[in-house]
Point group: C2
Chain length 152, copies 2
């Protein structure tokens, strides 16, 4: 079963234009062609596209993805390189998640801050709230906000 570029475009929700752009960048060497040069995507190629999508989601630039694709085309001699690459991507994503979780904590603090301000009708209320009145889970965030000022 083969798909044209237009068919696969719908399936992976990437425009034919963009898929050709990827092809030009060397991301799709595994896609077969008909005698007349038309790209013939097969079921397996979905997986290739999904790996590309996955790597893009990790923030990897196209050039680096190409390097990885080149390795896969090279065969078993590049297994080590590919493993190391995935390990690094994994670490990178773990870091991104950790950073977003920190960001989330600050947002949670701010939500609490404005909930309180809303109740009181004014942000002034925060000059009257004691440390003990701040929910335990978000207290450290406020502390941190203060700490940083003096850290430097």
């Amino acid at each position: 079963m083969y798909y044209t570029i237009g068919e696969i475009a719908k399936k992976v929700n990437i425009s034919p234009h963009t898929l050709r752009f990827y092809a030009k960048e060397g991301l799709l060497p595994f896609v077969e062609r008909s005698e007349s040069g038309i790209r013939m995507f097969k079921d397996e190629d979905f997986e290739g596209l999904m790996i590309i999508e996955c790597l893009k989601k990790t923030g990897m630039p196209i050039k680096d993805i190409k390097t990885f694709i080149d390795w896969t085309m090279e065969g078993d001699s590049t297994i080590d390189k590919r493993l190391e690459m995935f390990k690094k991507r994994k670490e990178a994503v773990e870091k991104q998640i950790a950073e977003l979780q920190e960001t989330l904590r600050l947002l949670e603090y701010k939500c609490w801050y404005y909930e309180k301000a809303k109740e009181a009708g004014t942000c002034e209320v925060h000059s009257k709230i004691k440390v003990d009145d701040i929910p335990e889970d978000i207290r450290p965030v406020k502390e941190n906000l203060k700490k940083v000022r003096k850290l430097y």
Copy 2:
């Protein structure tokens, strides 16, 4: 205690150039000026900068951050808007984290895949591995990779 733009730049690790760019974009209306027009950052302004950084980390464009800053300058009448804004940012970040966690699972599968290939010296080994031999936690990822092919 006041800081010049160069001093604060070092503290927040953003170049004076970029800080002036932010100022031009209307992100720093709260920064005082000396008689001669020199920006005088105070300790409180750190917090402002950190909130801006936080919002940037959520992927919020500068224009939208400016809108929020304008609200804070407007005063208590905009508390509701600000609360809603932070709630939405919180949801956005939660979604980003969830997506990255999905990405991470695919990376974990790929790490396992290449660990196995490395052991065997060839990727061919994966045509011989039975579903039961795939660790339980990453098995669904492989299933998913297959499912998607047929989903459409």
